[in-house]
């Protein structure tokens, strides 16, 4: 009887532990399935015209997404211009100046802002930057993405500033540097690599956002000069093309998906590798 119980416990042990390993394998293989599918389907449709030409009129095969690529870059640039400075300086405040209560509130609010569903950010940006002007615009889209950049940048900046050893700060102060001078010339440069990484990850994250753009930047089948007109972006075009009824648009959606995923993954892998190497070199 006792023996049977022991065999049962031991086999349960083996079965459950194997299952945990299988689960990990399943999740990781999903990543490779996604990559494989996109490479296979997107690779077939990717060509030079994709990067250089405008979309062809509905029903005509061929054409590219040059306007969507430029549109995405413009949106991302504006998002960076709005979100990165706010994120950086707020992060400096939290790490270097913040008191207890106010810092806690700011940190908590940042987490809340980070958790707000992107579609809600879209509503907010539309309420502030689209409804009053009665038309969609690149500026409104960039504004929406910029807000999403802020919380990620704040937490990244704060984390990496805190990782800078106190002895560096004390050294600078002992030489007579004031506090802001210490921060600007010693602490920030020491944490530069990490902070830039955090910023790139924030941009990589919003580069893949679609929901906040649906009713801010909207879409456009032509070039969008300036900031006051609706613009195409890779993500919204993938959405429209994938849900359309045309095979040729489906093919282009795969190609755009491959380009987008490639950019996002390269940014992620590159920055993470850079951080782990830099971290080891600094001995942090």
């Amino acid at each position: 009887m006792k023996r049977a119980a022991l065999i049962w416990r031991k086999s349960l042990n083996v079965i459950m532990l194997t299952l945990t390993g299988v689960s990990a394998l399943v999740v990781v293989s999903v990543l490779f399935l996604i990559l494989g599918y996109l490479l296979w389907n997107g690779g077939k449709s990717l060509n030079w015209a994709f990067f250089t030409e405008l979309p062809k009129p509905v029903g005509e095969a061929g054409g590219g997404m040059a306007n969507a690529i430029v549109g995405s870059l413009k949106l991302l640039g504006l998002a960076a211009a709005i979100g990165l400075p706010i994120g950086l300086l707020a992060g400096v405040y939290l790490a270097e100046f913040g008191g207890k209560t106010f810092s806690f509130i700011v940190r908590y609010t940042t987490d809340i802002l980070n958790g707000v569903p992107s579609i809600v950010i879209g509503i907010f940006a539309a309420a502030v930057a689209v409804l009053p002007f009665k038309h969609f615009s690149t500026a409104a889209g960039g504004f929406a993405l910029g807000i999403m950049v802020i919380p990620i940048t704040v937490r990244g900046t704060e984390e990496f500033l805190r990782a800078v050893p106190v002895s560096l700060r004390e050294g600078a102060m002992a030489l007579g540097a004031s506090r802001w001078r210490t921060i600007a010339t010693v602490v920030l440069p020491a944490a530069r690599g990490g902070i830039i990484t955090g910023m790139l990850l924030a941009l990589a994250r919003v580069a893949g956002e679609t929901a906040p753009l649906l009713f801010t930047a909207f879409n456009n089948r032509y070039w969008s000069p300036g900031w006051g007109q609706p613009t195409a972006s890779l993500t919204v075009v993938i959405y429209t093309y994938a849900t359309s009824a045309y095979d040729d648009w489906h093919r282009q959606a795969w190609a755009a998906g491959l380009v987008l995923l490639g950019l996002v993954l390269v940014a992620n892998v590159g920055t993470r590798l850079a951080v782990s190497r830099g971290g080891a070199a600094r001995g942090v």
């Binding site: 031991k10 042990n13 459950m16 532990l17 945990t20 390993g21 689960s23 990990a24 999740v27 990781v28 999903v30 990543l31 996604i34 599918y37 400075p85 707020a90 400096v92 405040y93 100046f97 106010f102 509130i105 700011v106 908590y108 609010t109 940042t110 987490d111 802002l113 707000v116 569903p117 992107s118 579609i119 809600v120 950010i121 879209g122 509503i123 907010f124 704040v154 506090r179 802001w180 600007a184 990589a204 994250r205 580069a207 893949g208 956002e209 679609t210 929901a211 009713f215 909207f218 993500t235 993938i238 959405y239 994938a242 849900t243 489906h250 795969w254 998906g257 987008l260 993954l265 993470r272």
Partner: protein
């Protein structure tokens, strides 16, 4: 104000009037302090603005429908009659399906990474799983439309019907799109969050807890299941709440595979809509103030739910990592 400021003030001659403020600001520390403070405060401002705009812009709908907004099921832009019940139902059902799949899978994978795998392998896999979390949701939607929907129509759906067809949730016509498909995609999207947070939490469980269980004769699995996981329970719950908050608010992937129908149905195969997918589909074309206002109110609901869930999740994770997880 900071301590540097007080020493500076006491050393400097006292001045009054408008010059006093500028005089004090000549100290670079204070300028830097105030500038960064303003930017930090701007985050509070932006977040309150988000709440304010949602509140103000949903005014018409809140005034007209009140609480009935949440339990009526008509959504009629022509006659300006709006009830959100089908969307709330769709949101809850898809998220529930997602959690039913993602929690066991994610917890098992996290256990493997924290308890069994050697550190290098564990870190490598965790890295890949972080990449999975970085995949844009529109890509999941793309794969959902062209891979998961056909699979659901031809393989998964029929298989579930033969095996569990007696359950009402697996009855009715199967179009490929619907609650179940959306739930599966959501599960894949939230599983990385469950794994990475749970793994971190499991790694903070003290080594002697495990060793004590093993020394008493427990098998590896018993030590994990009866000692390590209960110890980390609050943190694991936190990871589930984070995943839930993400699943509730996820828009694009769900919009692309749920079928977009105003529908309450027991069958998981039937098409439906979630709060987020409704906003995504209708906000851009909403004509009429009341229509727009009703959509903004949906956004407000979504904001409040995710706000509460995220807050709870943060508290639980903090509690476990401080070692009070067993309380």
């Amino acid at each position: 104000m900071s301590s540097t400021a007080t020493t500076f003030d006491s050393a400097a001659p006292r001045k009054t009037g408008p010059h006093a403020f500028i005089w004090r600001l000549r100290n670079g520390d204070q300028v830097a302090h105030i500038v960064t403070l303003v930017f930090a405060a701007s985050i509070l401002l932006i977040t309150s603005l988000v709440v304010y705009e949602l509140w103000i812009n949903s005014h018409l709908s809140r005034a007209k429908f009140g609480w009935t907004f949440f339990w009526t099921r008509t959504w009629d832009p022509i006659f300006d009659n709006f009830g959100a019940l089908p969307y709330i139902y769709g949101t809850l059902v898809t998220s529930a399906v997602a959690l039913v799949i993602a929690v066991p899978l994610g917890l098992a994978a996290a256990t493997f990474l924290a308890e069994l795998a050697p550190r290098t392998l564990s870190d490598g896999i965790a890295f890949l799983i972080d990449l999975l979390a970085a995949v844009p949701s529109v890509i999941y939607g793309l794969l959902g439309i062209f891979v998961v929907v056909p699979l659901m129509r031809t393989v998964i759906g029929p298989a579930l019907k033969t095996a569990f067809g007696f359950l009402p949730i697996f009855q009715g016509p199967n179009y490929g799109v619907g609650f179940l498909t959306a739930g599966i995609i959501l599960a894949i999207m939230v599983v990385p969050f469950i794994i990475s947070v749970s793994r971190e939490v499991l790694l903070t469980v003290p080594r002697d807890q495990r060793e004590a269980a093993l020394a008493l004769g427990a098998t590896r699995w018993e030590a994990t299941w009866k000692v390590v996981i209960p110890w980390a329970r609050a943190g694991i719950m936190g990871s589930v709440f984070l995943a839930l908050a993400r699943a509730l608010g996820e828009t694009m992937a769900v919009t692309m595979v749920i079928g977009n129908a105003n529908n309450i149905s027991v069958s998981l195969f039937s098409p439906g809509d979630t709060i987020a997918s409704t906003i995504a589909n209708q906000f851009g074309e909403a004509a009429g103030d009341l229509y727009l206002s009703a959509l903004v109110e949906l956004g407000l609901v979504l904001f409040l739910i995710t706000f509460i869930l995220n807050g709870l999740a943060q508290l639980m994770i903090i509690a476990t990592e401080r070692g009070r997880g067993r309380a």
